[in-house]
């Protein structure tokens, strides 16, 4: 159970949002709506514990995430930037993610994952040479690789093509079925089971 | 009085050192209070808008 109490965030002089309250249970998805610059990304970064809110607190199982060290290890975060090294090939990026997540190197699993995200042919190509959509797929492949319980996604659908979006929505649904938790910001509609979705809008 | 000003020819350095100290200390206080008025004026303007 992830809960936020009276969250307030200020960037420079402008106040993005204040006394924001919400709570998300495992198996539920929180969709954050709001136009550009309304603080969606800042909110996600606060939930990941990267930045501190000016006021209020975020608790996971009723304990503040800023004191709860192992909380961060349960998060898979894909932000605006892909978090992927442009000078490495797809496979090298995936193998680094795998080792970083502490699962040891297993080449066959990586090849299978590359095929799953439709990048099998380009697996030995430098990420720098791929299109934005393909780079996004590499970043999203991390979610399936790490299998973590909390997914925090910032505009995951940008630059993705229709066909991959459908497949990705299926993955999201499976994640929720396995009682995973999802926090996502998006401009396009996400087809997710209605009863599991909570929505907040940042003005 | 003559003895103080002469200070064996080193008056320049001794008075110089004390002079600079007084100037620096006083100036920083003056600049700080000037800054205070600037801040107050700024806030007031922001209020009027």
């Amino acid at each position: 159970m992830l809960k936020a109490h009276g969250l307030k965030c200020v960037r420079g002089d402008t106040e993005l949002f204040s006394n924001l309250e919400f709570s998300v249970k495992s198996g539920e998805a929180l969709v954050v709506k709001g136009d550009n610059g309304s603080g969606k990304t800042s909110l996600l970064r606060i939930l990941c514990g990267f930045s501190h809110p000016v006021e209020g607190d975020v608790t996971w199982c009723d304990e503040s995430i800023f004191r709860h060290d192992s909380f961060r290890q349960q998060i898979s975060y894909v932000g605006h930037q892909s978090g992927v090294k442009m000078d490495l090939t797809v496979l090298e990026n995936l193998s680094f993610m795998q080792r970083l997540a502490g699962e040891g190197s297993d080449a066959s699993k990586l090849k299978e994952l590359a095929r799953y995200v439709g990048l099998f042919k380009q697996r030995n190509v430098l990420t720098r040479k791929l299109s934005a959509g393909q780079v996004r797929r590499v970043a999203l492949a991390k979610l399936l690789l790490e299998q973590r319980s909390i997914w925090v996604l910032d505009e995951p659908l940008t630059a993705l093509d229709k066909e991959f979006i459908v497949k990705f929505e299926l993955d999201l649904k499976n994640h929720l079925d396995k009682l995973g938790l999802l926090v996502v910001t998006t401009h396009r509609e996400l087809k997710l089971p209605e009863f599991r979705v909570k929505q907040i809008t940042l003005s | 009085m003559q003895e103080i000003t002469y200070l064996e020819g080193r008056a320049l350095f001794v008075w110089g050192a004390y002079g600079i100290t007084v100037v620096v200390l006083v100036l920083s206080i003056v600049f700080t209070s000037l800054r205070k008025n600037k801040i107050l004026k700024e806030i007031k303007q922001a209020l009027e808008q």
Partner: protein
């Protein structure tokens, strides 16, 4: 009781009012001490048998040097608290101490050079103390530079908090290595140290001047912090309400 007081002090509004009351007293004390110290040092204290009149410069040079290190320690402590407990007041102390510390260090350097000219014949001498003072100035300028490079003063003060803490660990190391390096290159020159075993008639004015600098530092710090608090809290209503009272 002490802890509660400290905790209340950490709120900007309370600190602003609390410190406001102290300013008149402290300014009065500073002026009295300054005048007494200057008069005593310049006119009453006997000239040094060896250096003659230039010796009087130490009544300004040494307190400034002491203050430059004292202010750095204060900044490091405030930086440490800003990092651990994120108190707003200690963050402001860090940013203001950096400027004041840099001022004291520059003052110590200038008076040191003015003392050096008649004694050594040149303004700058790679003497161990002057070199350590110069490096301390760079440490301060580092903190000041961080503050001017970042607009968001909260991140700035936390970053300079880290730098201040690292600096404190480094000050003894610098001092040791510079003194050791200095002795390596000038074993022969008989170093006339700025404060030899000081005769009481010279010690008292020195202590009075040190106290005067100390009081001055506190007054300046409080005034600068109040400015910074006004600036940071300009959006809050207690500042707006304060403004209404002022004019």
């Amino acid at each position: 009781m002490m802890w509660k007081f400290l905790h209340r002090l950490s709120s900007l509004k309370y600190f602003y009012e609390w410190s406001g009351k102290w300013i008149p007293w402290l300014t009065g004390l500073t002026i009295v001490l300054m005048v007494a110290g200057f008069y005593w040092g310049l006119f009453i204290a006997p000239a040094d048998y060896q250096q003659g009149e230039t010796y009087r410069i130490i009544f300004v040079h040494v307190p400034a040097a002491w203050m430059s290190m004292f202010v750095y320690v204060i900044m490091a402590i405030a930086g440490f608290t800003a990092l651990i407990w994120r108190t707003k007041v200690s963050e402001i102390v860090v940013s203001e101490c950096a400027v004041i510390g840099a001022m004291f260090t520059a003052l110590a350097l200038i008076t040191g050079m003015l003392w050096g000219k008649p004694t050594w014949g040149t303004y700058w001498q790679w003497d161990a103390r002057l070199t350590s003072e110069l490096i301390l100035l760079f440490l301060y300028l580092g903190v000041v530079a961080i503050h001017s490079a970042i607009e968001d003063s909260r991140t700035a003060s936390r970053l300079s908090g880290i730098l201040a803490v690292i600096g404190v660990i480094n000050i003894p190391i610098i001092h040791f290595s510079v003194t050791w390096w200095n002795s390596l290159h000038q074993p022969n020159m008989q170093l006339v140290s700025a404060s030899p075993s000081v005769h009481p008639s010279m010690l008292y004015p020195l202590l009075v001047m040190a106290a005067a600098f100390q009081a001055y530092f506190i007054v300046l710090l409080i005034i600068r912090m109040r400015n910074q608090i006004l600036y940071r809290e300009r959006r809050t209503n207690w500042v707006k309400q304060l403004l209404v009272e002022v004019n």
